[in-house]
Symmetry: C2
Subunit: 367 residues, 2 copies
């Protein structure tokens, strides 16, 4: 019974309203230049027939799709481990919906899928793309660039355009300026976290990093170093342990840390999940938090941070807002004109084309 009932066409509506197809089209698309009584007749006909425009036919002529692709590189990412992804998507979805755009979700599972995604984007099925390019050296940005689709990245892509473009012979174009992205202030947030710890009087502040093939992890590490560089005698490199954003990784790192520096009295973990693992190991080792060791996380994944023992002090970023903003930037670029394109070379104040959202420290009990 869900037999694809053939929907009424413009033609049918026109016939019913006793006007031409063009007139119906005008009314359906906003109705400028159609006198009210006529427009009303058309609207009634549309209503009665339950007419819905055929998007394929429309796209064929307008070359717009009112659809945006969201590309998420999933493998080995935390995408499926925490609600990050879902929140981001919610923000994007809200914004797209508000502008009558559809969200086409492209999940990729490793290199093999890159070609598929590139082909899809190049195929002109969507008006633009929102890409979460999570890893350094990801070929996706390059492929997307070549596909020529307006794109906004989630998280600063490690796209050293100057270098790569040169490899391709685009060196003179300053193409790096063209990358639009939205990210949170990873470095600044990290500074805030570490300063907080230092301000608590801690003198042996460690950092458990995230996966260092992601810019967010690198930036947070940089922020940590920014502050520690200013603390006399505190640049002990053993206080930095590399990890991977997961609870298990956090446990491992914390164990190593306790091993190397039993006198550690504070830990800045690259994200909440890492902090979770660290907390567990600290407890198991008999340390009290925050009395013996203070801990700060990053992200403020509320369901995680509020449920740890003790509740986690952490750096909050507004993930849903990031998603919304990405979508907004893209749509603006699509309609407004060349907003997702590089500014004229030398335009002041636009270098980078990145939008950085602020972070805030959420104080709970762990530090």
């Amino acid at each position: 019974m869900p037999e694809a009932v053939s929907r009424p066409t413009l033609e049918a509506v026109a016939a019913r309203a006793g006007v031409s197809r063009a007139t119906v089209s005008r009314v359906v698309n906003g109705g400028d230049g159609v006198r009210e009584p006529l427009a009303e007749r058309v609207r009634r006909a549309v209503e009665e027939l339950g007419y819905v425009p055929n998007q394929a036919a429309r796209s064929l002529v307008t070359r717009r799709h009112d659809a945006v692709a969201v590309v998420i590189a999933e493998p080995e990412s935390r995408v499926f481990a925490d609600p990050f992804f879902a929140l981001q998507l919610r923000g994007i979805s809200k914004e797209l919906t508000a502008h009558d755009n559809q969200l086409v979700l492209l999940l990729t599972e490793g290199r093999a899928d890159h070609a598929r995604v590139a082909r899809y984007l190049a195929g002109g099925h969507v008006d633009g793309a929102l890409v979460f390019s999570l890893h350094l050296d990801d070929p996706l940005p390059g492929l997307i660039r070549d596909a020529g689709v307006p794109t906004v990245f989630g998280g600063r892509p490690d796209w050293d355009e100057d270098t790569r473009a040169a490899d391709r012979g685009h060196a003179g174009e300053e193409a790096g300026r063209g990358v639009v992205y939205v990210d949170c202030d990873n470095r600044g947030g990290a500074r805030t976290a570490v300063r907080h710890l230092v301000g608590l009087g801690r003198s042996r502040v460690a950092h458990i990093t995230g996966a260092l093939d992601q810019t967010s992890a690198v930036d947070r590490l940089d922020g940590y170093r920014d502050v520690m560089a200013g603390v006399p005698g505190e640049c002990d490199p053993r206080l930095v342990v590399e990890s991977d954003f997961t609870p298990a990784g956090g446990e491992r790192a914390m164990r190593e840390l306790l091993d190397r520096c039993p006198d550690v009295d504070a830990v800045f973990a690259a994200n909440d999940l890492t902090a979770l693992g660290a907390l567990r190991v600290l407890r198991a080792s008999g340390r009290r938090v925050p009395e013996d060791v203070a801990v700060v996380g990053f992200d403020d994944m509320v369901p995680v941070a509020e449920q740890t023992d003790p509740p986690l002090t952490t750096v909050r970023q507004d993930i849903e807002e990031m998603g919304r903003l990405m979508a907004r930037l893209l749509l603006r670029g699509l309609s407004g004109g060349r907003d997702t394109e590089p500014p004229a070379a030398g335009t002041p104040g636009t270098a980078g084309r990145g939008v950085i959202l602020p972070t805030t420290l959420i104080r709970r009990a762990s530090a």
Copy 2:
């Protein structure tokens, strides 16, 4: 520079290969009935020009879109609290990708969006829909049914067709038979959990329910009752506390439970998040788990269940597989013919049209 570069058309390929558009079309679509040397010429031309078919033009004539909508009713759901959603989506995505179908994501925020979704589905933009109808009395199933789009539901919808259809005057059609859905064996899984607890020698087994406006919660409660009904003198209704699938809800329920029945020695929680909350309250109350009170969860959200203290014994369902299966059923129905439609009235063995996936008990330390 991402200027929507006008892509080559069939025409261009035809010209280059020195054949007609029809021939190119044939080759592009599988190449039956085209002699090899010619086909090869065409393929080369496609390659050289980087030709990608225009999906809009194709859809316009074929009326297929190779796209499937995934509808997720988000408000008040746990969709953004645990990785359930992401896993489901991954399974769906894999299956769709394997069949060259796109995934259009429709997130809804309450009633207001229902009309939008219904309109979209009715608009014939997609070939079918996968719908997560999470709540009893959700109007979505009805709207979708009216939209006439082949649909597979995730989780048994509370769609008492006999009743509703009657309301609409379809009573004679046995329409309820037409609902295709995929779910896990909530009731059986609950039975397994409770039996395990009883088998441990526990005599005061409580149940903290999920949100009872979702069939999964109701089914798990039923499973609990199935077993408890067989345990002499164990039908104490005070052992059942209603909750909502959240950690906070689990805490609240556990507190009430301890209040009402301080002698409780086992808890079957409706999901892992609930169990998490319960564990916390139990610990705070000085009870040891599992010595004093054994706890079993449901879902096996690995990141949660493995990280609780003690690690959680729980009923596992294969969420990703559910997603994959939903997609498979839908695609099969779309191509194979009328598979998503109701079987002829009276067809034996097909009543319900639901596919129920098995669950397994994962033993960890909490029970």
